[in-house]
């Protein structure tokens, strides 16, 4: 356990950390809006899965070569190779941003080549590291933004679920958090108009839409407004990246989840002087990197979320 945990019992976050370090994942489901824990991955894997699955990959930071992980492209390759070994092939991938480290064409090229190896459709949203070109994001939009609006937001339907990709890394304000902005919020409200409240919704964006830790800017300034448009839906799953660690929260019918990075871990909120890359012993690194798989069960509508570290057997 790290020192940042509160005393007097293991909190949800603490428990998650311990399990991840042990090289396991957590699977839990959402049924009729009521989340229930389904236990550890080993157990849950035995549960029959039907319907379709998709996989979240995040923060690949291709181009990063600092001590926390001198070969971020290599660990991305490992993550993609693992996708190929899954018993049920996911229908598609969602990448929640920071594909590249510095938005260099070669970084995007390398990322595309490796991620393309999964031979699956990929739905991207940008992280702040993907908008560092001279055109402040033009390179990203040219490459990944086909069919998107504004800075790159869009929605689509698959497997009876309505998916919404949001961009909260543009036009950030001094002293503030992530930002969706007026135009995107209007688009979101409009996008949801006419949708039945029983439609499962999956929202994905780079920076958490809920405030994880204000002091490190881990939240979205106008995220609450976006969530207010989602209140009438019975099943809302919010998938984010940016913080390079697992974090889960349930609020009413909304399930919030952040994914691990495939490149390097970051410290738990407030447990280090800054949110910078966390260097861990080499044999521990792969227990802190990984991907997230989401299973949508037809009929009963539970969304089951499984986090798989690279080091999991």
């Amino acid at each position: 356990m790290n020192d940042g945990e509160q005393s007097g019992g293991i909190g949800r976050r603490g428990a998650l950390h311990c399990m991840v370090w042990a090289g396991t994942g957590v699977l839990w489901g959402l049924s009729g809006g009521v989340p229930r824990s389904l236990g550890l991955v080993g157990e849950a894997m035995a549960a029959p899965t039907s319907g379709f699955t998709f996989l979240q990959i995040s923060d690949s930071h291709v181009g990063f070569d600092k001590p926390a992980n001198p070969n971020a492209l290599g660990t991305l390759q490992e993550a993609v190779a693992r996708i190929g070994t899954l018993p049920q092939k996911p229908d598609f991938l969602i990448h929640t941003g920071d594909i590249s480290h510095l938005s260099k064409p070669k970084e995007f090229d390398d990322a595309d080549q490796v991620i393309g190896g999964a031979r699956l459709p990929v739905h991207y949203v940008p992280g702040e590291h993907d908008l560092l070109d001279d055109g402040t994001g033009q390179a990203y939009r040219d490459r990944y933004g086909r069919g998107s609006q504004g800075a790159g937001w869009y929605s689509f339907d698959s497997g009876g679920v309505h998916f919404i990709g949001l961009v909260n890394v543009v036009d950030l304000k001094a002293g503030g958090l992530g930002n969706l902005g007026h135009d995107q919020l209007e688009w979101l409200e409009d996008d949801l108009r006419g949708k039945s409240g029983s439609t499962p919704i999956v929202v994905f964006a780079h920076i958490p839409l809920w405030t994880v830790y204000q002091d490190w800017g881990w939240g979205t300034e106008d995220g609450a407004q976006a969530l207010s448009y989602l209140k009438r839906f019975g099943s809302v799953t919010v998938l984010n990246g940016h913080i390079h660690q697992l974090m889960q929260k349930v609020e009413g019918d909304v399930v919030f989840h952040t994914a691990m990075s495939t490149a390097f871990p970051q410290p738990a909120p407030g447990s280090a002087p800054s949110p910078g890359p966390m260097t861990v012993p080499p044999d521990r690194l792969r227990s802190l990197l990984g991907t997230t798989r989401v299973t949508v069960q037809q009929g009963t509508k539970p969304l089951a979320i499984t986090d798989s570290p690279l080091s999991a057997s």
Binding site: D134, A174, G175, S274, G276
Partner: protein
Amino acid sequence: MMPISLSRRRAAVAVFVLLLGTGAAAAAPQPVTIRIDNFTFTPAELSVPAGTTVTWVNGDDIPHTVVAVDKSFRSKALDTGDSYSQTLSTPGTVAYFCGLHPHMTGRITVTP
């Protein structure tokens, strides 16, 4: 081009030397460095005379940018060890932040 006569050239050189002399008398203020470490500008607040060149140096393993709140300047992404300089010639307050991590803020007071 008309060739410049020797005397005129001498005069021009003399004027130039004179200008250099005055320049030295009103020497540019000492340049100042602001470090970026642990997602923090250090010093986060400082006061400099007008004409000071301020250089930001990134010591983090993560890129940062330096962006003026009034949009008067904006650096490119500074990778580890990269720096960015800006000469502040107008008295007043310059508020700035990191465009990637906007919780990182700093302020420079430019005195006349």
